[in-house]
Structure formats: structure tokens, C-alpha cells
């Protein structure tokens, strides 16, 4: 993956609009958050291979990281995105990593189901 190029990501988001796509959306602070800090608690959410169609996808910059929103018949968004990649399976992968390279949030879009 590489650092977000906002213009390029916007172009890619436009290419997936108005057709059925699969999404992967997750965020997590890890399974050990509470183990290492008793004041914390583990938080995460995860959805893989949800089929959706969005009419508009938008990337917005915010203090050096990015938010991506997809307007469906509801809404989907992810915050804290830092990196992206269009992989060999034509899947748009977007993720937010912390300073140690750990994934904190991911939003991915594909025309074919993500591998299980």
C-alpha cells in the first residue's frame, strides 16, 4: 500500500459507483487493549462481503488522514484512512495504520467477493 493520493482515490471511488459491489469494513484496537491497559476496553467492528451499491463515494482530508464516505440507501464511512492500493484483483484497499504499522481501520471495495 502507499500513502493516499486523494485525487487518484477519488477517481477509483467513482469507478465503483452505481453498481453492486462487495465491501469489507473493519476497525479494531486489538484483542489485547485491555490486557495492556486495564482502563481500556477492546473495541472492534467488522463486516466482510456485504453487498451494496453506492451512488456517490467521497474522500475527505482531515489533519493528514482521510475519511471516506459511501452514500447508499443508508451510509457507510471510515475514518483514519492513511494508505491505499488497487490490488491485482481490482480491489480498492484503503486502510489506516498507526506509527508501528498496525492496521486500525480498513475499507475495501470489490466487484467480486473477498476471499474467505
Amino acid at each position: 500500500m502507499k500513502a493516499i493520493d486523494m485525487e487518484h482515490v477519488q477517481t477509483l471511488l467513482d469507478q465503483f459507483a452505481n453498481e453492486p459491489v462487495y465491501i469489507h469494513l473493519e476497525t479494531t484496537n486489538g484483542a489485547y487493549a485491555k490486557h495492556f491497559d486495564s482502563n481500556a476496553h477492546n473495541v472492534g467492528a467488522y463486516i466482510r462481503n456485504a453487498e451494496i451499491t453506492y451512488e456517490r463515494g467521497t474522500i475527505v482530508e482531515s489533519d493528514g488522514t482521510y475519511r471516506v464516505g459511501l452514500k447508499t440507501n443508508g451510509w457507510i464511512y471510515a475514518e483514519g484512512i492513511t494508505d491505499y492500493e488497487m490490488n491485482d484483483n481490482d480491489q480498492l484497499l484503503m486502510a489506516g495504520h498507526d506509527g508501528e504499522g498496525r492496521l486500525m481501520v480498513a475499507l475495501e471495495i470489490s466487484r467480486t467477493p473477498f476471499k474467505m
Binding site: 500500500m1 473493519e26 484483542a31 489485547y32 490486557h35 504499522g101 498496525r102 492496521l103 475495501e108
Partner: protein
């Protein structure tokens, strides 16, 4: 002192590639050096891991294949047979414990295990650890009492000693630590962050020494599965 050679077959049951290397590889190496075959039933490929390498080189979609290869490499270092069970990372607690236990029971019996090593629920912190351990306990519970393997369980929660007392087995892995560290480093995507942190700590005295300090001892509780709730 553990008499490693008295065992005929060890089966290790953990959910993630690297669980075996960080917590139990010194023990595995001692069994292998005593000529005892060891089989690893690895639940998942750690598909949902957060660590992508430091700096990151994996992504959510490439991580499973990368971790699969790391697992194979680690098992080669440990000279241990590997079976990948094909469950999905972070979902084990939502599977049927009894279906998992049934599958594990057949594999334990087919292997002829005299010792099963797994996690100790609910003292294993990660939900997959607890779920895998609970299924392994249940698998042994469903076996004929006469043919049950011994069970050693790994507890890692902060309250483990308050709840369980001192571990029954404390193994010093120094004599095999070079290979233990090599097994850990096979899991490049997962180990780099820890190794980097070690290097940055103020008392860093070299990779081998610092790792030895942290990971030298492996501890287990001997479990009678009829005496535990999980």
C-alpha cells in the same frame, strides 16, 4: 524436570500462526530433541491480525498467505507436523464448541496423542485463544477416560496466578533459545513490531539477550478436564 521422552505424541492446539512460537516453541523443541513427534493443529491463518509488519508490508488481503508461509517456515524450524484447520480468525467463539471439539477429538485420537497442549480458558486473553482451548478441553472430555492424553494449558491473563496459583510446569528454554528465536522470527509480519520495541527500550542488550529475558520461561498448568468449567 519434565521427562520429555516418556511421551509418544504431542498435539499442540492453538488458533493463530505464532501462538506456538512465542509461548511454546521451547517446549516443542525439547520434545523434538527427545525424539517425540509433535503435531500442530493451527485453527486459523490469523487473517484479521493488526500487525502488518514494521514498517508494514502486508495488507488485509495479502496477510493470510503471508502468515501461512510464515507458519510453514516456523514449523520447519521446529521440525513439527502442521495441520491447518481452516477456521477464520476472530470468529472461533461464534462457532459451535461441540462441532469443533468433535473434529479435534478425531484428530487427537488419530494422532495417538499422549499430551495435548492448548490455551487455558478463560485465562488466555484473546477470544480465539479461549474458544480454541475450550474446544480442546471438550474434545478430551469426550474421550474414554482410559485413553485420554495429558493436558497442559497456557494461561496468559494478568490474573492467572491469582486465580490458578503457580503454574505446574516452568520450563527454562535457554538451551534451545536460538531455535526458539528463529521460529519467532519466521513470523516476520508479527514479530517485527516486538523486536523493534525491544531495540528501542532503554535496557536493550542485543536481540538474543533481550528476547531471552522476555521469553525464556514457558509455563503450563496441568489440567484435569473434568475439574474445570470451561
Amino acid at each position: 524436570m519434565v521427562d520429555f521422552a516418556k511421551h509418544e505424541q504431542v498435539v499442540v492446539i492453538y488458533p493463530h500462526p505464532d501462538d506456538e512460537s512465542f509461548g511454546t516453541s521451547g517446549t516443542i523443541l525439547n520434545f523434538r530433541d527427545a525424539g517425540v513427534p509433535v503435531k500442530y493443529l493451527c485453527g486459523t491463518l490469523g487473517e484479521m491480525g493488526r500487525n502488518m509488519g514494521t514498517p508494514f508490508f502486508a495488507n488485509r488481503e495479502t496477510l493470510p498467505e503471508i502468515r501461512k508461509q510464515e507458519l510453514i517456515d516456523a514449523c520447519n524450524v521446529l521440525d513439527m507436523d502442521l495441520v491447518m484447520l481452516g477456521y477464520r480468525d476472530k470468529t472461533l467463539e461464534f462457532e459451535s464448541k461441540y462441532e469443533m471439539a468433535d473434529d479435534l477429538k478425531q484428530r487427537i485420537e488419530a494422532a495417538g496423542a499422549t499430551l495435548v497442549i492448548t490455551f487455558y480458558p478463560p485465562y488466555a486473553v484473546h477470544p480465539d485463544h479461549d474458544a480454541m482451548g475450550a474446544a480442546a478441553f471438550e474434545a478430551v472430555r469426550q474421550m474414554d477416560e482410559d485413553n485420554r492424553p495429558e493436558v497442559w494449558a497456557t494461561a496468559i491473563s494478568n490474573d492467572r496466578e491469582a486465580s490458578l496459583g503457580e503454574p505446574d510446569i516452568v520450563l527454562d528454554t535457554e538451551s534451545v533459545f536460538d531455535r526458539k528465536l528463529a521460529a519467532i522470527k519466521s513470523h516476520k509480519s508479527q514479530a517485527e513490531g516486538m523486536l523493534r520495541k525491544m531495540q528501542e527500550s532503554s535496557n536493550f542488550t542485543g536481540e538474543y539477550d533481550s528476547a531471552l529475558q522476555r521469553l525464556r520461561y514457558e509455563t503450563f498448568y496441568k489440567v484435569d478436564v473434568d475439574q474445570v468449567d470451561s
